[in-house]
């Protein structure tokens, strides 16, 4: 069935919401407008206050040492000990704010919103959550350093970069996972037999379950455990107890933590060649059909429908497999998948995309510091804090609760009150919503009692809530 390719769907469903003039610019070639965004290197995110993850972690290692000293010197409960505990959040919070502010600015202003959407999709796919303090300072750098430069590359390259990024290793505890027969285990075991060290299977499990194959795709507990052994030694440089290697804060393969020996994962034998053993497993996992299917399902759910048609998933999965995981090919397949341009609008905007589309539509400036970020917290989607490695959920039911809707409306009203006097809602409505604008909404806006109220109604309209 031929579907109408409309500029409003291109800007909203595949983008971050139209700015005034965008729909006219897109004109009658919405697919072309989206495709051209996939050409050329992804723009880097640059802003004052952004620092490398290596730099941040190296500094945090120093702070951690200070905290340990303070704890030893002060008795528990002493003011000095209490103050020491707050040192890490104090170091990390300004870094977090700088990261999310830069990200918000980019989303609100970018001319390549489709690219930004896929970037944010991958960040949520490879989720870390800042409710774990250890990653508060580096969650943004995971996106900036590992994901953003690779969203137009190959899936395998993206996967390897993420799994070796210090933020991911910290979040899922792999930096301290120790092979039970490793040199480190032998040394520690001699010194303190009561506290044997061993593996932590967190990262290995979530790679298989959440990052690649998907749960229920056939891997076993033994595969998880063995894979965890394979990636022992994937760690972070600097001091670690009595061991010290690598540049502080950077990914390092610590051979002394690595579980020796060949290993069988998913039926295939991998010789022990150090770091390459884990990389080989990741490459093979990335190329499995289950991975293509899992990624395609999540992409279709994110962009097209809560329950995408099997044909759409197959279409995108085929593109993934036949291109060997070439991501631009995969995104292009998304644009031609069955249902990609379907009406009526079925996806409910996430709180984050609701806020960003408001800022784009009204051309609001993103201010400095915490003030600009309060909206994300109030509407229930504080950046980089999905609370679990599964990332934020992606169905309408996950976001359209009664209380959530009320907060969205209250926030829309606050925006309307603040800038309504300087925006003309009746003129903006067709600029932002194009063919999606309903007669009901037009009428409500035209009959509004005041300019702020008119703007509130535009932002609260069903077709602005959805995409």
């Amino acid at each position: 069935m031929l579907q109408p390719f409309t500029s409003a769907i291109a800007a909203n469903r595949f983008g971050l919401g139209a700015r005034p003039g965008d729909l006219a610019h897109i004109g009658n070639d919405p697919v072309g407008w989206l495709r051209v965004q996939l050409k050329g290197a992804p723009p880097a995110l640059a802003a004052e206050g952004l620092r490398s993850s290596a730099d941040i972690i190296a500094q945090s290692l120093v702070v951690r040492r200070e905290i340990r000293q303070a704890r030893q010197e002060a008795r528990n409960g002493d003011a000095a000990a209490l103050e020491a505990v707050t040192k890490l959040p104090k170091l990390f919070r300004p870094l977090y704010i700088a990261e999310v502010t830069a990200r918000f600015r980019q989303a609100a202003a970018t001319d390549r919103p489709f690219l930004e959407r896929v970037t944010q999709f991958w960040t949520n796919h490879f989720a870390v959550s800042v409710d774990k303090v250890a990653v508060l300072g580096v969650a943004g750098s995971l996106e900036r350093e590992a994901i953003r430069p690779r969203v137009l590359g190959n899936f395998t390259g993206l996967l390897l970069a993420v799994e070796q990024h210090p933020a991911m290793l910290l979040y899922l505890d792999n930096h301290i996972s120790v092979g039970p027969h490793s040199r480190a285990a032998a040394i520690v075991g001699r010194r303190n037999a009561k506290r044997p060290v061993g593996i932590n299977e967190n990262l290995a499990r979530e790679i298989m379950e959440l990052h690649t194959l998907g749960v229920g795709s056939g891997y076993t507990q033994a595969d998880v455990t063995t894979f965890a052994e394979v990636i022992t030694g994937w760690s972070i440089g600097g001091e670690a107890g009595r061991f010290s290697s690598g540049a502080p804060g950077q990914f390092v393969f610590r051979s002394e933590l690595h579980e020796p020996g060949a290993k069988v994962v998913l039926g295939k034998r991998y010789p022990d060649n150090g770091i390459e053993q884990g990389e080989a497993v990741l490459r093979d996992i990335a190329a499995r059909p289950a991975t293509a299917h899992f990624i395609a399902t999540k992409l279709c759910r994110h962009f097209i429908a809560d329950d995408p048609a099997p044909a759409a998933v197959a279409h995108v999965a085929n593109a993934f497999t036949s291109s060997g995981g070439d991501l631009p090919t995969v995104y292009q397949a998304l644009l031609t998948a069955p249902g990609a341009w379907a009406q009526p609008l079925s996806k409910y905007k996430t709180p984050s995309d609701y806020i960003v589309s408001t800022f784009r539509g009204l051309e609001l400036p993103v201010g400095d510091g915490r003030g600009a970020l309060g909206a994300f917290e109030v509407l229930g989607q504080r950046t980089y804090s999905p609370g679990s490695p599964a990332g934020w959920p992606d169905r309408s039911d996950d976001w359209s609760g009664a209380s959530a809707l009320m907060k969205r409306i209250e926030w829309a009203d606050a925006v309307g009150q603040r800038v309504g006097g300087r925006r003309e809602a009746a003129g903006l409505a067709p600029e932002l919503l194009g063919g999606n604008l309903s007669a009901n909404t037009s009428t409500a806006i035209s009959r509004a009692a005041s300019a702020p109220q008119a703007l509130t109604l535009l932002l609260a309209a069903p077709e602005f809530m959805r995409r």
Binding site: D173, A402, K407, N440
Partner: protein
């Protein structure tokens, strides 16, 4: 599903257990139970370590397997709070222990949903959807139970409330429910609100959600007047109590807690998990205080998606496991007991050589509570609420009659 045939229940208090524990479709109707009973379901997301919160300190294998994480016997510094041998309660759980002493708490151990893999997200899905498979349905067992409850008073009303911006899966489904969470935003003026209501007239989903939100705000506003806050869960628990105290309000409330996924540096008597348990315990105390006279009609279930490994992992934490602990507390509960068909922690007793073997199906507890406390009809409990659960027979006698 493995068999629950080998029954060796730990006995405590004066309650005879064993064979009489299991029931089929008997009605336990109290005259006014269908209007007065209140139920709270607390989801502990992330897999709470049952061996930490309800340590089997008397089990011969416990201390050697748990090493640094092991808690000491009652009476020693940082020691557990005594339940019935071999079980204790984590020292952070002072309020829960008071409930146990007051016979208002039943502790379940070696318990699990029918889920036997180790994915948080699938595990939580099964915990909430009430079937035996993840993603089998898009509705939750608690909502389906609400839909099956006898309608009282005739008028259509919200039967459940989710404390949070959105409704978790366990409460999604055919029965009308609402959600509430604290707001820092200014309220809308009536005229704007009316216009938005009109704008949503042709959009059934948004119209319904907005109407629910307005009703919930009204109830919460009246309850916040007496709110004290202070604890991590204070504000939502005050609100929950506000909803449940109302005679014509919802009978069922649900709220989420996160932070139980203790892969590293879990701690023992003190530490990461101890702090979270203390906050939860304080929240439950607030719930009792805020419910006031309604507490005597209340039952609260705390459940998690699965347990954690018996042995400590390489990073002083525990990985995803199977058998877990769960709690049933409240003034309506016949408590003061630990119900567990304790499989032990010896190497051969462990599930797949690493996890606590589950010997009690969580659905048996939930089915018992739904029937005895909320008077959900037996047929509905066995078919629409918990399909394919015939082998998990409802536990009898969990609720005071």
């Amino acid at each position: 599903m493995q068999s629950f045939g080998r029954r060796r229940f730990i006995r405590s208090g004066a309650w005879a257990l064993g064979a009489t524990l299991v029931t089929s479709g008997v009605s336990f109707a109290r005259a006014d139970a269908d209007t007065k009973s209140r139920f709270v379901f607390v989801i502990l997301r992330g897999a709470l370590d049952g061996l930490a919160v309800v340590p089997p300190y008397g089990d011969p294998d416990y201390a050697s397997l748990r090493r640094d994480l092991a808690l000491h016997a009652p009476g020693s510094a940082g020691g557990v709070l005594p339940l019935s041998n071999p079980f204790g309660l984590h020292p952070s759980c002072q309020f829960l222990h008071e409930c146990f002493t007051a016979r208002e708490l039943v502790v379940f151990h070696a318990i699990s949903s029918p889920y036997r893999e180790r994915s948080h997200f699938d595990g939580q899905d099964v915990l909430e959807n009430g079937t035996v498979r993840p993603h089998a349905v898009q509705t939750g067992w608690l909502n389906r139970a609400l839909a099956a409850m006898p309608v009282r008073g005739g008028a259509e009303r919200e039967r459940g409330v989710a404390l949070g911006q959105n409704v978790p899966l366990v409460m999604r489904g055919p029965a009308a429910v609402t959600s509430w969470s604290p707001s820092k935003l200014a309220a809308l003026d009536d005229d704007t609100l009316q216009r938005i209501t009109d704008l949503y007239a042709s959009d059934p989903l948004l119209a319904k959600r907005l109407a629910d939100a307005l009703a919930a705000d009204e109830i919460a506003a009246s309850s916040q007047a007496m709110a004290q806050g202070g604890t991590r869960y204070g504000e939502v628990i005050n609100a929950a109590a506000g909803f449940l105290r109302r005679e014509d309000g919802p009978q069922v409330a649900v709220f989420d807690t996160i932070g139980w996924d203790t892969h590293a540096n879990e701690g023992s008597a003190e530490g990461q998990l101890a702090g979270r348990l203390a906050a939860l315990d304080a929240g439950l105390r607030t719930l009792k205080e805020q419910l006031g006279p309604v507490w005597k009609d209340t039952a609260v279930v705390l459940a998690t998606e699965f347990g954690r490994t018996v042995a400590v992992n390489g990073t002083r934490g525990t990985d995803h496991g199977t058998g877990a602990a769960a709690f049933l507390l409240g003034g309506a509960v016949r408590g003061g007991r630990v119900l567990a068909d304790w499989p032990g922690l010896s190497a051969r007793a462990l599930y797949q050589g690493r996890d606590l073997q589950p010997t009690l199906d969580l659905r048996a507890v939930l089915k018992g509570v739904l029937q005895e406390h909320l008077l959900v009809p037996y047929d509905a409990v066995e078919s629409s609420v918990f399909p394919d659960s015939a082998r998990a027979k409802a536990l009898k006698g969990l609720i005071r009659t």
